[in-house]
Symmetry: C2
Subunit: 435 residues, 2 copies
Amino acid sequence: MKRHRTAESAEPTESAEPTAPTAPAGPSRRRVLGAAGAAGTAGLALGAAGGALATSAAAEPPTALATVGRRRIAFHGTHQPGITEAAQAHGHLLAFDLVAGAGRKEAAALLRRWSRVAGALMAGEVPPGRLPDTGIALDAGPSALTVTFGFGRTFFDRTGLAAHRPAALEPLPPFSADALDPKRSDGDLWVQIGADDAPVAFHALRALQREAAGTARVRWQMSGFNRSPGATAAPRTARNLMGQIDGTNNPRETDEDFGRRVFVPAGGEPGWMADGSYAVLRRIRMLLDDWERVPLADQEKVIGRRKSDGAPLSAGPDGTETTPVDLAGRTADGELAVAADAHVRVTAPETNGGAAMLRRSFSYHDGFRDDGAPDAGLLFVAWQADPLRGFVPVQRKLDRGDALSRFLRHEASALFAVPGGAEKGGYVGQRLFEG
Amino acid sequence: MKRHRTAESAEPTESAEPTAPTAPAGPSRRRVLGAAGAAGTAGLALGAAGGALATSAAAEPPTALATVGRRRIAFHGTHQPGITEAAQAHGHLLAFDLVAGAGRKEAAALLRRWSRVAGALMAGEVPPGRLPDTGIALDAGPSALTVTFGFGRTFFDRTGLAAHRPAALEPLPPFSADALDPKRSDGDLWVQIGADDAPVAFHALRALQREAAGTARVRWQMSGFNRSPGATAAPRTARNLMGQIDGTNNPRETDEDFGRRVFVPAGGEPGWMADGSYAVLRRIRMLLDDWERVPLADQEKVIGRRKSDGAPLSAGPDGTETTPVDLAGRTADGELAVAADAHVRVTAPETNGGAAMLRRSFSYHDGFRDDGAPDAGLLFVAWQADPLRGFVPVQRKLDRGDALSRFLRHEASALFAVPGGAEKGGYVGQRLFEG
């Protein structure tokens, strides 16, 4: 099966993509193209800017700096973008609800427009929207922009497509750490935007919002961030706002069972979800005032890893982040080196029947609460072929006895069916609407 | 006069600083040091990370990517950092109010702690705070972090320092485009944080907030962004969320009168503000739904410049962003090429008695309003030796007849006295407290 298509650019160059531990390069990795194509763009706006970009790049010694803007990810392919690529420096998660009167036909037209606009944006071209481009992203390259579309449970009734609703979209069970805000949860449609440049990400958000006018309106929006490319000397697993290395045990594309765990197989149910995936979103606020009062050694026990470098507590001083966790290991005193309620034990695949999901999250900070604590934490995004075998069993175990959970509040939750990628000339969700 | 000190690092390397049109390199430019010093750091946390950083950099071919993290700006110097350097990709603006019972002594102690923490953070070292470091910035270099401190009008009464309050801190006059929210305006103390990496900026914010506990609490906080380093092939003047190039006419450090316009001279009043500056902040919401309905040609008339490249409308097709604006120029039809109410005419220094301020702003986007419009715009930050000769006369003229004003709402406003930089071993504001 050909899993990835090359993009339409006439100028593929070497990729500037670092080999991030959270999403290493592998044979099935989505093709990342180095340069936004200047060919084929015309007119004012990004066409002109694309030309200027190419000219400047030719006139000056190429620098890795310039590749931050020039990194381009293909929109068309077997899978949608924004799943297996390393998470970008900026992310926007938006849910839309269909407006009254919008049904299957209008939704299909919207997905067709959204796909066309997203494809152009990701190529660094002027988006062919119904309104003139805003110009916000002029001068900048696509900056690793990805746009990903999904369908929520409520979408199917509203569009007369209930017979096609995946069983996997059943509501997630309640968990004891939940303090969910329904207004910031769920939604008919989901758009995930990621880019390594904030104006590029906002430009895409605004272009897609404008394209939805008359069909769907924003239900909620969350924005988050990750490390900027190049902020660390070498790519590293992300650190969250608790200061912990987070994502070490993420499945890797080189794993034999990666595709099976993350993507819906051809021949699965429903058929239109073949090569798609399910995204679980949780807005997880961190109780940082409480967490930061915990002494370092106790923080490490809560996680089961050293804070400085992520090495498991079962490893000796020479351990590193990638040293396998020895869940049976004991200290000289005979205690479990990784405590019974340590986060790394509770989430270990071997204690969860091999459940695994691909986490691709963003940190967030939305100002301060009335008590002075930062409203900050993790926009947790997990990808799996089946939430009942990915997120749900792990969260159930966390709910029963995870030392970390008392420092977290799950404040919003959503689950979306993310279909496979669009073929060239096609659009995301086409097999649902036209199948 | 020695205007800048070198920082304490033993390892200055070449700067990765691009020559941005908004803040070009010049003889008085603050020294930007390439690498965070690994020497002198010890223990867990950033000490260890600093060492790893240096090791990795030596083991791998140096890339410009790595310099994003390694860019270091000196904390100590004649002026505070965060004024003349190119604006970073991420910015946080925070006002603090002193808590009941905190007076001059407590405020001086806070500024001493803040200065010590800011100096360490900007050097990429573990901040010597009262609490253990959060670890959020582990692995990353300082990423061009700057921290800047200022005093608001209310600070002086609350600390018994009314006799030392600068006359320049008189409240700004009201303007007709004002729709100011007092809760998001003013404040006793101001902290400006900028960095090219979001976790590094949040780490600094959290470290400074924790250091203030018991003395001052957050009054308001705003977060914004600019282009990421390397998103454009060559450094360019920023583009705002209206898609306009914004900042072309900023004074340059190479201008003969730059220092006189931006910084309070030695011998000025009050004496403790020598080498300081005044910061005017305006949270300017853009009415993007209205603006984007305006056809391109009319948008260009409102500004007086071409949207694509920023060339003045008085220039021909070969004009560029840096072509001088010809305010008297006429079209073939005899019309003024730059309209009477064009923004570029109203703000032109030659129509404002030479008034000039150094603008160093961030874009912002705080979700959506109830009507579906993005709550987005500009965190306008202007620096000048005297607000009555910088911001105020320009804003008065804009208020009377600027075509752009009807697309803007000023929603918050503040004015802070930003003293000169701290000497090594000293702290910001020392001359106020001990003078």
